[in-house]
């Protein structure tokens, strides 16, 4: 067991180091090199964290979907571990996104929270996948918990496009009179320096995500290993 774990640990360590470097560069670029936004000023810089966070969260939920589907199909433990790990890290990144969005919102709109489409969607995602984690923890039988969670993982992901559509329609059909437009995609006449910062940041977040995911995955593997050993020793 220890033999095969060593190269994986090393690779993970390199991944983590790369992530740190990429994020550091991205942050430097975003905070120092890139110019401030024409409309929003310095506070716009949080986008270098905010956008990668939410994109990584979506990636995570996609992995939950894949892991859940594979688990129901093949019933291999590794797919269950993947789904569970991706859900946890996804919730983490989603919570981060909301906090970052809130921090951005305060100076921009003067409020800590607003029910615009994006923030609302992110909050809903948080609710769904927190529910996923709660479901897992409240079912005692491990294999039943895995199946139940897998079903939720699939259904939750299938619902996301529908939730997107409904929330966006709702928000665009009933636009409150005085609103700033925070939803403009950042690549509309944007300084190339900002784009570079964003890209590096995104790469860094991706690397960080996979680093955390592999850590969490290993933890999940170890739990199963402990169970298997206890079982082997049991009368």
């Amino acid at each position: 067991m220890g033999q095969s774990a060593q190269p994986i640990k090393k690779r993970r360590g390199i991944l983590g180091a790369l992530a740190l470097i990429a994020i550091a560069i991205g942050l430097y670029w975003g905070l120092v090199v890139a110019p401030p936004d024409a409309y929003q000023g310095e506070v716009q810089r949080i986008m270098y964290l905010h956008l990668p966070s939410i994109l990584t969260a979506y990636l995570s939920y996609f992995l939950v979907f894949i892991g859940s589907g594979m688990y129901l199909w093949k019933r291999e433990k590794r797919d269950d571990i993947l789904a569970h790990s991706a859900a946890e890290i996804g919730v983490l990144f989603t919570a981060l996104t909301i906090i970052e969005g809130s921090i951005w919102g305060r100076p921009t709109w003067g409020v800590w929270w607003t029910w615009d489409a994006r923030l609302t969607l992110t909050a809903i995602l948080l609710l769904i996948y927190t529910g996923y984690l709660m479901l897992r923890s409240l079912i005692e039988d491990e294999s039943r918990a895995a199946s139940a969670a897998a079903v939720l993982g699939i259904i939750g992901f299938l619902d996301i496009p529908l939730i997107h559509m409904s929330v966006y329609w709702w928000r665009t059909l009933h636009q409150p009179p005085s609103i700033l437009q925070p939803n403009k995609p950042p690549w509309e006449n944007v300084d190339p320096s900002m784009l570079i910062a964003l890209t590096i940041s995104f790469v860094g977040f991706l690397l960080l995500y996979f680093y955390l995911l592999s850590l969490r995955y290993r933890y999940g593997e170890m739990r199963y290993e402990i169970k298997a050993r206890r079982l082997a020793q049991g009368s």
């Binding site: 129901l72 809903i124 609710l127 769904i128 529910g131 996923y132 709660m134 479901l135 409240l138 079912i139 005692e140 039988d141 039943r144 199946s147 139940a148 897998a150 079903v151 939720l152 699939i154 259904i155 939750g156 299938l158 619902d159 529908l162 939730i163 559509m165 409904s166 929330v167 329609w169 709702w170 059909l173």
Partner: protein, 225 residues
């Protein structure tokens, strides 16, 4: 035996049992009506504002009433390990999904048929001519609620804090339905016809079709002994 026949058989069994004991239907009726009263006291609305609030209040009432129905959905199978009896048999699990969804749907529709006119009476609404459209929207929304609700009820069957966990995981997933039905009804009440709310109606239909299909396909994995 085909899927349809098996579904009909199970649905017959549930309706027969419900007709005899009437626990689910009575509690749901009472709860739905009770909520109307509570809303009336909570929201002291002037007559011109009531129409605005109607869809939201109606749907809140149905959501909670429906959740009550979901909590009782598998009651018949809890006695004498009858769920084992069904799983033992050559029953297509998709038929079980459709039957339970259908059963909750029947119960909710019966409640809605009474509660909606009751709402119009209690809140002194005059738009009686719009009831057919209101019923249609309600029907589509209820189908969505029942299909997703049956799935969630089944996966939480053996969970701790089941009654709390079910709404917790169901409601966020229901947001498209909640938004669609309420916005659709609002438009109908305001303009007198569907008009631009047709898009919401299509969303509802899409939701229903997707999750009914997913439910039938995925129910083997949902319900295990």
């Amino acid at each position: 035996m085909t899927l349809v026949k098996q579904t009909a058989l199970l649905l017959w069994k549930d309706l027969r049992l419900e007709l005899r004991r009437r626990e689910s239907l009575m509690t749901m009726f009472f709860f739905g009506t009770l909520l109307l009263f509570v809303f009336h006291f909570s929201f002291d609305l002037p007559p011109d504002r009531v129409a605005e609030m109607t869809p939201a209040l109606l749907w809140l009432a149905f959501l909670f009433t429906g959740t009550l129905g979901l909590a009782q959905l598998f009651n018949a199978e809890r006695e004498n390990h009858c769920l084992d009896a069904l799983l033992l048999s050559p029953l297509d699990r998709g038929a079980l999904f459709l039957a339970k969804t259908g059963f909750n749907l029947v119960l909710m529709l019966l409640v809605e048929v009474v509660v909606i006119p009751l709402f119009w009476i209690l809140f002194n609404l005059s738009s009686w001519n719009l009831l057919p459209q209101i019923f249609l929207v309600s029907l589509l929304g209820t189908v969505g609620f029942c299909s997703l609700g049956t799935l969630m009820a089944a996966i939480t069957l053996r969970a701790r804090a089941r009654e709390l966990l079910l709404p917790l995981i169901l409601f966020p997933l229901m947001i498209p339905v909640i938004l669609a039905t309420i916005r659709c009804m609002e438009n109908v009440l305001r303009v007198g016809e569907f008009g631009e709310a047709f898009a919401w109606l299509r969303l509802l239909l899409g939701f229903d079709v997707i999750f009914l299909t997913v439910g039938v396909l995925i129910f083997d994995h949902v319900i295990e002994s």
